[in-house]
Symmetry: C2
Subunit: 202 residues, 2 copies
Amino acid sequence: MKVSKAKSAENRAALLAAASDLLKEQGFDGAGVAEISRRAGLTQGAFYSQFPSKAALAAEACRASVAGSQAFWRGVQDGAPADVSGYLDAYLSADHLENVITGCPMAAYGSEVGRQDGALKAAFTEGFEDLVQVMQEALSLKMPADLARQRALLLVSGMAGGLAMARAVATSNPRLASEILQSTREGLMQLASAEGTTTGGD
Amino acid sequence: MKVSKAKSAENRAALLAAASDLLKEQGFDGAGVAEISRRAGLTQGAFYSQFPSKAALAAEACRASVAGSQAFWRGVQDGAPADVSGYLDAYLSADHLENVITGCPMAAYGSEVGRQDGALKAAFTEGFEDLVQVMQEALSLKMPADLARQRALLLVSGMAGGLAMARAVATSNPRLASEILQSTREGLMQLASAEGTTTGGD
DNA sequence: TGTACATCAGTGAACGCGCGTTCACTGATGTAC
DNA sequence: TGTACATCAGTGAACGCGCGTTCACTGATGTAC
């Protein structure tokens, strides 16, 4: 049966939300059209009247996930006034380690992005740049712009890497996982606050 | 036909090598038994007289990949005498970014490990610990052991994260990718050399 | 405002395909005598 | 050392299954008069 435009838009949003979650939970290959549709309360047929393909949905879901991440970061920034330590503590926490679905897409499927199609890579890349931008702005308060940029790139990559590695080892060695989180937090915090003149230039 | 024990061992090694490559190239879901066997010059039937399942092979291949990584790291260490800058330059290079197959498994499929079975996670975790150990030994020459440990954990995670993020954005924005590599190299190098007393306690 | 009907979002079954795995069979290996 | 034969690594076709995608159909929506 046909459905009102409002309801159709609602269904589209539900598919996107289900996909955002499932992609982080099961990866790009693991997340299937059938389960995404089922979680959105729809059939696979409905899926294909909303999106031309699984790849197209994945690209949009990735864009939505990273935008959501950015909103979270800005939220932390507003709460604890522009202090990078707020980012680090929230990101590299036991809570974030356990909650993949509500967490950051970079850590959830970062290493898979390079194997996806161009639209998805573009969406991820734009989101990544935005996150770096937010981080850079926070750092700019205590260091020159070019150093802030350099440190922002390292912090974002390092946070994603630290969380991803902590998750990878968490089942076999939970103590190691929290050691990774703590070491990453402390080391990156030092780079975020240091007046660092050892940087050397090209 | 039956085959000599030597030839059978050779075939097993070929399957492992093909799997190590293909897992890094296509991920755990993307790499299939058919193609792994084909690349090893064998049929799928041969696969199952060598390994009980795809998951069992994946765990062994992961173990082999990470051990290979460790050998590479030790090699760099022997070449340029125990200097961490040797690790960083080799790992965070354009060359490593382009060559996924011959590269580090942490960056190639780090974010997928958490979704695999226990044997694979255990193999990855042990390999990760070994890499941290090698890094820690190199760092111990210029800082106290506990700080070296903390820094080793951050360096290994940060290197994996930096390379993974650089690869994710490389197609859409190659300039950003090399910026990530460079910023990660420089920032981590600073942490590897700094006498860092700002470490604070837990 | 009320009626007639074209539109089209969603249904649910079916499609071909490639996946991981199984199995009857082959024939060189390597052991027993 | 030479022969007879049990073993078992590898072959290649087949299995069931779930994947992404398609399609004939449904019926509420919302437009045209």
